[in-house]
């Protein structure tokens, strides 16, 4: 065949190597940028930690630009609201004296290295008293090491992977319950449906998870639950996939061949959209369908349409539907008053992380880092999070432990909480009515 050719260029011409001079310039630029030239905004009263300072400075970084900018902005809203409320009556009570709180927040641009460097700078150069963590597991995992090395209390609402808390760190605390709990809470709802005779026994489980710490925790949660329930569940497919997949036909083909009743997937939004489109267009239908935390958000409906997300089960760390009474109502009302919109779980986690830290400082009655750390370790307060209490159990390495709220998308466009029963706002449906036969 006579194909038109435009060249026969040897690949050796394509050199991706960087000249050494350029490398030096880039390295210097990086050092200049990350070392930072901004003036110190730290607490000048650092000399004696037992003395009452004129202000408490909390350092923090969030991804205010970059790929996680929207989420970073949401966490900032939570931090700002908690600190504003604390300062409304003068600040944190330290030994009878009200001390205002200041947040020294920097943008880590969703960059792991920058999150680490900025944390180092805030702690060692700006000498902040305490630290509120950034968002996303990868960034928190890297940044928490800096906090541990510098022995500064570090509370975050953005890192869920158990690997962050399995290192024996003493200064790191997280308000996000493990993703294992996400899987476990969903399985508890499924177990109820099975006990009610709505799902077969044993139920065949197709377990598909993204190859990240998030996905591995999800997998462990499902595995632990199915093992603990003997013959009630049978895992017939157990596969992982790489992020940002372009084609899931091979995995879906395996799943279809295994004839599962429960299609249990853990995926981030882009993979959820791609996989769910392929799932639907290949005419698959399983009695229960979940993509972990995905499905109830507005972005999912926009991308897949109402029919595309109907009966998808999802579980999140918090939902505004919890906000009908008590502390939750106060949070939702004050959030709406300040920002004019409903909070999502991101803002709730930011708010609770800041509130946990501020409460611990007040209980310690001091800005002494060790005392505040001890208070965080023993904290047990009323919370807006599911279960109503927030603590950082040592057995979990400082990671909070509570059930998720399970939601199910219904064809009318609502996503009521269907589990746990004490906070449920609607009835779940199983099996999926879309499946014929």
């Amino acid at each position: 065949m006579d194909w038109p050719k435009w060249t026969g260029v040897p690949l050796a011409e394509v050199s991706l190597l960087m000249p050494s001079r350029l490398a030096k310039i880039l390295a210097l630029s990086t050092i200049l940028v990350t070392a930072g030239c901004a003036p110190s905004q730290g607490n000048d009263d650092d000399g004696d930690s037992s003395a009452i300072p004129s202000k408490i400075v909390i350092g923090s970084t969030l991804p205010l630009t970059g790929s996680e900018s929207k989420t970073g902005g949401r966490f900032k809203q939570g931090y700002d609201l908690a600190i504003e409320q604390e300062n409304a009556d003068g600040g944190v009570d330290l030994g009878g004296k009200k001390v205002p709180v200041e947040l020294n927040l920097l943008d880590d641009t969703t960059d792991q290295a920058k999150a680490v460097n900025l944390a180092q700078r805030l702690i060692t150069q700006d000498k902040v008293n305490f630290f509120l963590g950034t968002y996303s597991t990868a960034l928190v995992e890297a940044q928490s090491t800096v906090a541990e090395q510098n022995k500064i209390p570090y509370v975050n609402g953005g890192g869920a992977a158990t690997s962050i808390y399995a290192k024996g760190f003493q200064w790191v605390f997280g308000t996000l319950a493990p993703v294992e709990n996400l899987a476990n809470t969903e399985m508890e709802w499924i177990d109820q449906q099975q006990a009610a005779g709505k799902l077969p026994k044993p139920a065949r489980v197709a377990l598909i998870w993204e190859n990240t710490s998030h996905g591995k925790d999800f997998r462990k949660g499902i595995q632990d639950f199915t093992r603990a329930h003997g013959t009630n569940y049978q895992v017939v497919t157990d596969e992982s996939f790489a992020l940002d997949g372009k084609d899931f036909s091979a995995i879906l083909s395996k799943v279809r061949a295994a004839k599962p009743d429960l299609f249990m997937v853990d995926a981030h939004l882009p993979d959820f959209i791609t996989m769910q489109r392929q799932y639907l267009s290949s005419n698959m239908c399983t009695k229960v369908l979940t993509y972990g935390a995905r499905g109830s958000e507005a972005d999912a409906r926009t991308a897949l349409g109402q029919d595309g997300v109907s009966y998808v089960l999802s579980a999140v760390w918090w939902n505004k539907q919890l906000g009908n009474t008590g502390l939750n109502k106060a949070f939702v009302d004050s959030f709406k008053a300040k920002y004019g919109t409903d909070p999502e779980w991101y803002q709730a986690q930011g708010y609770e992380a800041a509130r946990a830290l501020l409460t611990s400082i007040a209980k310690a009655g001091s800005v002494d880092k060790s005392k505040v750390r001890d208070q965080l370790a023993g904290l047990d307060i009323e919370s807006i999070l599911p279960g109503g209490r927030l603590s950082f159990p040592a057995a979990n390495g400082g990671q909070a432990d509570y059930p998720f709220v399970v939601q199910q998308n219904l064809p009318d466009g609502t996503s009521p909480i269907v589990y746990p029963a004490d906070v449920a706002t609607g009835q779940g449906v199983a099996p999926n009515p879309n499946c014929k036969g």
Binding site: P4, W6, V14, S67, N211, E239, A242, I273, S281
Partner: protein
């Protein structure tokens, strides 16, 4: 057997998208000897343009293709006239072009962050989840449309390069620009057209991608890498070679699930790239390179 058939058709459909993704990169490299690192950014920008046309004016993504082609042809010609033409010719300009176009990509990406934030976007058409059933297997209508458009683009490019004076001029400039000048071909004009066409093809890939995947301003990086793998597999020599390279990559990724865990399938292409570079540096369907 049915599973193999389903996977084979899925691989062919995926290859269509992969080929559309790589045409522009291959054309620009073949003629100008420039690896267009802004390729991924153009794909992302075209996805956003399509999304905006869909959301604001209700324009179907496939109807938006001519608009995207015109816009990105103009953008490509502008990038060439404003930036690329000042680079030194030949190997001396290789590194500069990489850095320059990488800079263009960063600018495009950050403008997208400023305009649209980092939130994921996706286009939901009425047919997004519809399917066609063939021999008991169902295939997505959207993926079939993407494949069909990729084939049409292949045919049109083939005709352009073989049946038109402009196409012959492009091939001639790719082979020997100095002789073209002696023969009266306006080499600079051919290069402007080629860079514009390559960018327009990246725009086409962006339109098609927006109908298949969710995207954010970081979208395009994986597409650039895969495009590079495809043009190397295809031999850096022809549009048909690129189509065949896309088939090899798609089949390798889809069928590798029988050999390696699914999370490793995306790495299969890069292993193929290394193997091909070592054993056959001219590409699977390109010229043999004498050692």
């Amino acid at each position: 057997m049915r599973e193999v058939f389903t996977l084979a058709v899925s691989a062919v459909l995926l290859a269509g998208f992969y080929a559309a993704m790589a045409y522009g990169l291959g054309l620009i490299y073949g003629v100008l000897r420039i690896v267009n690192l802004a390729h991924g950014g153009i794909i992302m920008a075209a996805a956003y343009l399509t999304w905006q046309l869909f959301e604001r004016f209700g324009v179907d993504p496939y109807i938006a293709i001519p608009v995207a082609l015109v816009v990105f042809f103009a953008l490509g010609a502008g990038i060439y006239l404003g930036l690329v033409r000042f680079l030194p010719r030949g190997p001396a300009g290789a590194v500069q072009s990489l850095l320059l176009l990488f800079g263009v990509w960063l600018i495009i990406r950050n403008v997208a962050y400023l305009l649209f934030t980092g939130n994921e976007q996706a286009i939901h058409t009425s047919y997004a989840t519809r399917s066609v059933t063939v021999f008991g297997s169902s295939f997505s209508v959207t993926r079939i449309l993407v494949f069909a458009i990729a084939v049409v683009a292949l045919l049109l490019l083939h005709l352009l390069l073989t049946r038109t004076y402009l196409g012959k001029a492009i091939r001639a400039v790719a082979q020997n620009p100095d002789s073209c000048t002696l023969a009266g071909i306006d080499v600079e004009r051919v290069r402007i057209f080629t860079f514009g066409l390559g960018t327009a093809l990246a725009g086409l890939a962006g339109v098609l991608a927006s109908t298949l995947f969710a995207f954010n301003p970081s979208f395009g990086a994986a597409e650039l890498l895969k495009s590079f793998v495809i043009i190397v597999l295809g031999g850096l020599g022809s549009i048909v070679g690129i189509a065949l390279g896309a088939c090899v990559l798609a089949f390798a990724e889809v069928f590798s699930i029988y050999v390696v865990p699914p999370y490793l399938t995306s790495a299969v292409g890069f292993v193929l790239l290394v193997v091909v570079l070592v054993l056959r540096p001219g590409g699977l369907f390109g010229q043999r390179v004498l050692r």
